[in-house]
Amino acid sequence: MLELVHLQVLSAALFSIGLYGVLARRSAVLVLISIELMLNAVNVNLIGLGAFADRPAESRVFGQILAIFVITISAAELGLAFAIILKLFRSRGSVNTDELNLMKW
């Protein structure tokens, strides 16, 4: 019996894996990939909550609408972030997050 809690636990697992990747990895590309994992986990939660809501069928798709907006924003964010990464690599020769301390002093 598939229940809402199963989806929420799956979403929490995916989110925390992405959080670990954001905090523990060194390459900025990996940090962005982990952010995509976290956004995907949020989408799982939204669609699951919408699908299991005790509402009429036409209200049940609100979660999917929110998920489409999340997907769109994440695509825009990813394009911009990779443009910034390319620029950083051209100007500094490295995309490791511990070497990007230009604003520090």
Partner: protein, 212 residues
């Protein structure tokens, strides 16, 4: 949620285990390119779970955008940055321990909240929202206009019992399209402008400056 429940369970567990395993490989693989490929696998597994939840359009979007476009974009960026060999080093033991502790705490907190919240009691929250809104606006917003054929979906009380909406099995793409061209058309157009602005911004940022 009535028929073929065992099959649904099997598909869900296969998809969930595949998604979690691929995600673990994303953050654990030594090669950044392998991380990108495992990310595509994770997105595919999650798309299968979307199909299970009768979100077929979202599953198609997931495959087209994430598996198709986002993974290709990531792989192109990795190739242009030339960090394939040994690029996935961890940021040091302090960050690994901090990340592991933070991830464990966050997942435990979310799972605790998921188990201890009565998710079927959303109508009480909606009703209290309605009361607050009525008190704020002089009970104007909570009264639907008479003769208005458009159903006010947000504040429509779920008067029908739970068993009249028996679960997650129904079509959803038609409702999604109707909501997008009817109720959410402004947000839909604005999000396309956001995408256009991000596209132009990425082009401007990533352009090679020609020596003139």
């Amino acid at each position: 949620m009535t028929e073929s429940s065992a099959l649904v369970d099997v598909i869900f567990w296969v998809g969930a285990i595949a998604a979690i395993g691929a995600s673990v490989m994303v953050v654990a693989a030594r090669d950044v390119l392998k991380s990108a490929v495992f990310l595509a696998a994770s997105f595919l597994a999650v798309g299968g779970i979307y199909v299970l939840l009768r979100a077929e359009f979202l599953a198609a979007v997931q495959v087209l955008i994430y598996v198709g476009a986002v993974s290709i974009l990531i792989i192109f960026t990795i190739m242009m940055v030339r960090q394939i060999a040994g690029g996935n080093r961890s940021a040091g033991p302090f960050y690994v321990v901090t990340g592991a502790i933070a991830a464990t705490l966050v997942s435990l907190a979310v799972i605790y909240a998921a188990y201890n919240t009565d998710w079927s009691d959303l109508d009480a929250a909606a009703a209290s929202d309605q009361r607050v809104e009525a008190a704020l606006t002089g009970s104007y917003a909570s009264q639907p206009a008479p003769g208005n054929p458009k159903v006010d979906i947000i504040v429509a009380p779920a008067t029908a019992a739970a068993n009249s909406h028996p679960g997650v099995f129904e079509r959803s793409t038609g409702n999604l399209g109707q909501l997008f061209i009817r109720d959410y058309v402004l947000a839909f157009e604005i999000i396309s402008l956001v995408l256009l602005a991000a596209l132009i911004g990425a082009l401007v940022l990533a352009r090679e400056r020609r020596p003139t």
